[in-house]
Each structure stands twice: as C-alpha cells, then as structure tokens.
C-alpha cells in the first residue's frame, strides 16, 4: 500500500466536497477537506480555520475518494490537536476529566492472550442488554479497556500520553478485534497494522442469525467511520450483503456512506451541533423502506428522534425473543 500523503499534495480536484456532510451543510469550500488543505498550503493557521476544523464529523468519507491519497481525517485530527494546543480551554470539565483519565490509564485486561476481543465503546456499554446480545452473537470477550478515552481524545483534539496509548495497544496485542467505534477502528489500522480488526456492523452482519433477518424493504444504515476506515474491503462486503438481502443502503452513487449523525459527540462548549435532520432527510429522500436497521446506537437515537419508521439495531435482528419483545414495532 502506498504511503499516505499530507495536505501539501492536495491538487484541488474537489472530489472530497461531493461526499462531505460538512460541505453539504455549509456549501462553502472552506468547510471541506480541500478547503482546509488549500488554506494550509497558503499559510493559514489552525486558529483561522477553527470553524471547519470543529465542524468536521470525522466520518472519513473524504478519505477513499481522494485521488492523491491524502490522509484527510488524519489532517483534521492533527489540526484539532494543534488548535487545542494553540487555544487552551479554560474551565472545561469535559476536557479536564478526559486529560485526567488519560493520565490515569486503566487496569490491564484479564482476557486470555489470544481470545477475540470486543471493544464496545461508551454507547454500547450504556445499553447492557444490547451489549449482552452482541457478546452472545459474536461469542467475544468484552475488553475491560476499550479505549473510549483515547477515541474521545482523538475526536476532541486532546493529546494522548504515550504511556496511555502503549498501555491500550499492549492490551490488544495478539487479539482479533471487533470495535464498535469507527474512529478507533480507523486508528487501530495504523497503530496495529498486522492485527485482525473488524467493525461491529460487519461482524454482526456476518452472523447468519442476523443476516437472514434483513429484509428487502429495510434501509440498512452503515456506520460511516468504520466503513470508510476499511473502504475497499467494506465496499465488497456490503455489495454482497445488498445482493443477498436486497436491502437498501445509505450509500451514495460513489458507494460512500452518508452518515445520519452530522457530529458524533458534543465537542467544545458553546459549539452548535451539526444538522442531523438534514442528514436524515438526505438519507431518506426517495426511500421506500419500511424499517431502518442501524449499526450504531448514536444513529438509532437520531432516526428515532427524526423519523416515524421503526428503527432497529443490527444485533436486535438476531431472533432473540427478549429483543423482539423490547422493540415489537420493528419486527412487524
């Protein structure tokens, strides 16, 4: 694989704009990966680019379409880090807690050395029943340290102390990994290049109990970060899934995933959230689906808030009577 390049290689082709939720929302080239790269080429500072740096959802859609192979999400994360360093935030409990957590680290994992591990992330940990269902479907041990603080640090532009990163990666050494957090999955590809990694959606969708319950009338919402982090492989995977099940996917004509969540997590205090409603409208425009199947709990929450269709998590398709009882409307 050819080495990734930096912003200096941007030729201004604008292909990244076509897939960028931030550009779609602002219709302003400054709010695009191209706009950031070109501004950097002309000497702009992170402070001058603060608005687009903060507005980016890190969905990674720009990554696979860039013909120059620039690490565009990496560029944005780096800019966030530089921005945070240049404009220290006083009195932000979110940042203070995160920095303290990163310094503290976690206890080493007790999982056996080679067992496959599930990194559930905070959303899935917050839904004990669903986590148990996922664990049962995949037959995986749940990692005690799932790197949630590291993922949040990547997202917010907070420096990760080397000892914390080393501790986290050491706990994953030798394991196959299924990660629910697409941003973390993306970074693991770089940090642990030889490891076996998979997103939660692809892992669950590979289970016959789940796959066989997908319907041709479903709109299957792929979690964008995990998909774009492993684009070439995932394009083939979801193409097969669609052929087999007939379900519709939240892919555009370039086979890039359209995220429902315009911004994954609230970022710096005072910043407005992205326009989830516009994203949901765009995904649903022209759709004849009767049910929405999601891989991400954040997207389940957005669809439940913004549309009338039944919404079900992929793990809930696994014919578990408890799950069916919990969401009867989604199972007809």
């Amino acid at each position: 694989m050819a080495a990734l390049r930096d912003y200096a290689a941007c030729s201004g082709c604008s292909l990244c704009r076509l897939v960028c939720p931030m550009w779609r929302s602002h219709r302003d080239p400054r709010f695009s990966a191209e706009g950031l790269a070109k501004a950097l080429q002309h000497g702009a500072t992170p402070a001058q680019l603060a608005a687009p740096i903060e507005a980016c959802s890190l969905c990674g859609a720009c990554d696979p379409v860039c013909p120059e192979r620039i690490d565009l999400p990496g560029m944005v994360m780096d800019l966030r880090l530089r921005l945070a360093n240049s404009l220290p935030l006083a009195g932000s409990p979110l940042f203070d807690d995160l920095r303290a957590s990163l310094q503290r680290g976690t206890k080493p994992s007790a999982a056996s050395h080679s067992a496959p591990l599930l990194l559930p992330g905070p959303d899935l940990r917050g839904d004990a029943a669903l986590l148990e269902r996922v664990r049962a479907l995949l037959g995986l041990a749940v990692a005690e340290d799932d790197g949630a603080d590291i993922s949040l640090a990547l997202e917010l532009g907070v420096g990760i102390p080397p000892h914390r990163l080393q501790q986290f990666l050491a706990s994953l050494g030798g394991h196959s990994i299924v990660a629910a957090d697409g941003l973390l999955l993306r970074q693991l590809r770089r940090w642990l290049p030889g490891s076996q990694r998979m997103g939660l959606g692809a892992a669950l969708g590979s289970r016959p109990a789940v796959r066989s319950n997908l319907l041709a009338t479903d709109l299957y919402v792929i979690e964008a970060r995990a998909y774009h982090a492993d684009y070439e492989r995932m394009v083939a995977y979801y193409d097969r899934l669609q052929l087999e099940t007939g379900c519709a996917l939240n892919l555009d004509l370039q086979r890039i995933a359209i995220p429902a969540v315009a911004q994954e997590r609230p970022q710096k205090p005072g910043l407005a959230r992205g326009d989830d409603a516009a994203q949901v409208r765009w995904i649903l425009q022209g759709s004849k689906a009767t049910r929405i199947v999601v891989e991400s709990l954040a997207e389940r929450a957005v669809f439940e808030r913004l549309c009338d269709l039944p919404v079900v998590h992929l793990a809930e398709l696994g014919e578990d009577p408890e799950m069916i009882k919990r969401r009867p409307h989604a199972f007809g």
Binding site: R27, G35, H42, A44, L253, Q285
Partner: protein
C-alpha cells in the same frame, strides 16, 4: 580583474527594463492585470449592501489555480454565491467601481479561465441546490453552481438522470452550459448546453433576467456557450430522462483512422446510445460503445457489430503480441501498455458498479478512473473540434504532435450531434462554423506521470496542436485564458469584433470574466 568595456549599443539605457531581454521573444500570457485601484471603496460599498466578502489566505487559497495547475493567481477577495439578488448586488458594485469579477464553478478549466488575477472571485458552488424536479415533464430546475454529480445524486432518488454531462464529477452545471459539455452520448443527444431549456442570468450590470429560446432569446444565445462573457448563470432548467444502467462494449484497434471511421459510421447510423474513443497513445485505440436498452443493444449486434473492424480484448492482445514480437526494440512501449491495461481496466469493471453485466453510474466509474489514472497537479488538454470530414486528419496530425512532445499520452474522441435550431448558440464557440450534423472533438492529454515540464514546454505543445486547428479551419473547446491569442485567428476579425461590441454594450466596465475571452 580585467573587465572588458561593454560594446556601445549592446546594452540598453536600462539593463532591467521590461524590454531588456534582447533576442528573446516573449509571449505575454499575463498582460497588464488590474492593480487593485479602489478596492477598499468597493469592499465598503459591497459590505454596506449586505454582501459578504472574505479576504485572506484561508478564504482565497483554495482558488489559487484551476484544474490545469499552470496558471496561478489570487483574488483580492471571495464572494460565495448565495442568491441571484446577491450576485446582482456584487456585479452592480463591481461595475460602479470597475473591479473585475471572475466566476468559478467547479474550477475545471485548464487555461486559467476560472483563476482570478486580482479582483473578486465569485464562487458559484454556494448556489448548488436542486429547486424542483418535475418527473412528469422530465425537467429539473436547479441552482447553477451545482456539480453535475450532485445533480445526479438528487435525480437518482427519483430514478431520473441528466441527459449528458462531462465525464467529471466536479464539473458545475453553470460552467458547463457556458462552454458546451461533452459526454459519450453527445453524438446522440448533443452537448450538455443543448439540454438547457431556460436560464436565470444575472447580467454584467446586475439585472436578473430569465431567458430561453422564446424569452430574451438573444441573451440566451449569448450566455449558452458564451464563456461567461454575457452574464452569470444562477439557475437552469434542464431536460432530464429516466435512469437506465448501460451495457458497455469495448473494441480495440491499432489504427486511429480505422477506429474513427468506425466511430463515425456508428454515429451516422444512430447505431448506439454512447460512443467514443479512448486511447493509450496511438498503440491501443479503444472504441467504446454502450446502450441504454436491450433492444438497442440487440439491434446493434444484428446490424452493426459485424461491420466494426476492432477486436475483442483477447484478439487484440494476440495482435499486440505478434506486433511487438516482431519489434523487440519497442519492448518498453509494450511493457507500458501492459502495465496501463492492468492498472486501468479493472477500474471500469469494479463489481460494485456492475449488476447483471450492466454498468451503473458511468460518470462515477469514468471520473474516478480519470482522476486516479490521468489526473495530476498539472493538466494540459489542448483539443481540436472539426466537422466530421476533417476529423481524421486533425487527430492524426495532433497525435504526431503528442508523440513529439510527450512519452505517453491519451486521446479522447467523441462526436457531438448538432441541433440546427441551436445554430445561434454555437456562434463563436467550440462548434466549428462549417460543421453540419455532427462536430467531432479530440482532446490530446499528455500523461505527466510525476515528470516536471516547464510552462514553455506545455505552451509550445498547445500551440503546436492549435496551429493544426488554424490550418484546418477547426475550432477548440479551450480557446480562452492562456489560449486566447488564437481567438482572432480561428474566428476571424469580423465575428470577434461583433462579439466584442456586444460585450462592451453588455458589460461597460468589462468586469465580468475579464481576460477569459476579452
């Protein structure tokens, strides 16, 4: 040190004067540019009228060059188009203060036409929403800054598609209507500009005017294929069609002449829905033929396929094997062809774009391949547009120029069906005045492949291609910007002076897209 005295007369009175280079003829491609006079007053007036203008590196850097990457310039400030009213306010203020305004859509020009050398850059991508899709009437009304691909994304949700558009995802509708727009179905459906039914235009003096062949027809004729000289297209109503995937066939030739003859034979007989030629130099000439329906494909197979003299992929590989086996000194060329085939061909057969043997989303397939395998930070793509009977000579002579200047290159040839009722649209455009029925265009695209060429080398190459056009009485797609020195040579003084007079009437301060044509 013994310094000999300077011979009298060998050095002018000022050794660093603009004309001090003796014996070296310089072609001035960047004549006296606007110098910023009155900029602050203009900005103040603009802001007072509520128009937002951005200045500084973060705002202007993205516009430093165009897809060509050989013309560089920065605007003093950028206005992101948001509405026709706002564009009208900008142009009124620009007229009053004599500030040039350069309009940019997708920025896919190659001769610096969408690069601002000072003044205001008006970025139309801010006006990129689809306003109304009428599935019954098969029309769409859209803001003109939209990329064709974004329009396709919206249309597809209604199972519709545009008629024809450049095979490039980031071409804008407004920019394309202003210059023509060629697709591989243009031999059947005409150029992209021909699908426009009506336009909303902001004139250079800031009037907002709706125009069509029936309403304000003269403005419509000048704006369509008008290279942005007579107004800013802010909205467009376009014809659309039901979406269909297409079945694609490739035929391979080792002779440009034979392939072009076959292409023209197919076009004359309306034998296919899509047709075009894409080459690897003049060694592997690929005639692509495609169909929207099984019926059309079956008719082609019955009536026309046997007349084609090209080979299938396997047959052509055998021909090439024989050809190069007898010419071992050309092993490097053979290796290049093989490498190119291995890299490029899979792009056109990616399984996620194929269903039941049919290609979905042809523009995505082609455009991604183009950017990946032809794209570069610098692109020069001189072209020749001729009537059908002059086309083979134009391509063969242009091919010889490519061979002389570059190691590797690609030719892209396509026909354009002309609509007689649109003849006024075609005046002083890429459509040659003597073309009847079809015009044919060929793009000559060198592969830069990371090499470094001087601007002079590129310019000499382009000039050599364009000189063929002058000799043949052809036209060009890219005659603006750095190539505008050819405008009088190809169109003649009478036509150019007439258009210049119209331009002066429409744009008294000559502020709109200055130096693109006039």
């Amino acid at each position: 040190m013994n310094i000999p005295p300077v011979e009298p007369g060998t050095v002018g009175p000022c050794p660093v004067a603009p004309d001090a280079l003796q014996g070296i003829k310089r072609q001035q491609t960047n004549p006296s540019r606007w110098n910023g006079a009155g900029w602050q007053d203009f900005v103040a007036a603009l802001r007072a009228s509520g128009v937002e203008l951005a200045e500084g590196a973060a705002a202007c850097g993205v516009y430093a060059t165009d897809a060509g990457g050989t013309a560089y310039g920065l605007p003093h400030g950028v206005v992101l188009a948001r509405s026709a009213v706002q564009v009208a306010q900008l142009l009124k203020a620009a007229q009053a203060h004599r500030v040039p305004v350069t309009v940019r859509g997708g920025g896919l020009t190659t001769e610096g036409e969408s690069v601002a050398f000072g003044g205001v850059l008006l970025d139309m991508s801010g006006m990129s929403r689809v306003l109304k899709i009428d599935a019954a009437a098969l029309t769409v009304r859209t803001e003109a800054g939209i990329y064709w691909h974004s329009l396709a994304e919206e249309l597809r949700r209604e199972n519709l598609d545009y008629l024809s558009a450049p095979l490039n995802l980031t071409s804008s509708v407004g920019g394309t209507l202003g210059v023509g727009g060629i697709d591989v179905n243009s031999a059947r459906l005409g150029c992209s500009a021909d699908q426009a039914l009506s336009l909303q235009v902001v004139t250079p003096t800031g009037d907002i005017v709706e125009c069509s062949d029936d309403v304000n027809a003269e403005l419509f004729q000048r704006v369509i294929l008008g290279y942005g000289q007579f107004g800013v297209i802010t909205e467009a109503t376009l014809r659309v069609r039901p979406y269909t995937p297409l079945s694609m066939h490739y035929y391979y030739y080792s002779s440009l002449r034979t392939a072009i003859e076959d292409l023209q034979m197919l076009d004359r007989n309306d034998a296919s829905d899509y047709s075009g030629i894409l080459t690897i130099m003049d060694c592997a000439v690929n005639l692509l033929v495609a169909f929207d329906s099984d019926e059309r494909e079956a008719a082609f197979r019955t009536n026309w396929e046997s007349r084609l003299r090209g080979h299938g992929e396997f047959g052509f590989a055998l021909c090439m094997l024989g050809h190069y086996a007898l010419r071992p000194w050309k092993a490097g060329e053979a290796l290049y062809l093989l490498q190119r085939k291995q890299a490029v061909f899979p792009e056109f057969r990616r399984p996620e774009y194929m269903r039941d043997g049919k290609m979905h989303d042809r523009t995505v397939v082609f455009s991604r391949a183009v950017w990946k395998h032809w794209g570069s930070r610098q692109m020069v793509i001189p072209d020749l547009a001729t009537p059908a009977d002059k086309f083979i000579e134009a391509v063969e002579r242009g091919n010889a120029v490519c061979r002389k200047y570059f190691r590797h290159y690609t030719l892209y040839c396509v026909g354009i069906k002309l609509r007689p009722e649109h003849k006024p649209h075609y005046e002083m455009s890429c459509v040659p005045p003597d073309a009847e029925g079809w015009a044919y265009g060929c793009e000559f695209e060198p592969m830069i492949e990371g090499a470094v060429y001087s601007r002079d080398h590129f310019q000499a190459f382009k000039n050599a291609i364009y000189d063929i056009g002058v000799d043949l009485g052809a036209s060009y797609y890219r005659f603006g910007g750095m190539m505008k020195g050819y405008i009088r040579r190809i169109f003649g003084d009478a036509l150019v002076d007439r258009h210049l007079a119209m331009k002066r009437r429409a744009d008294p301060a000559m502020i709109l897209n200055r130096d693109v044509i006039f």
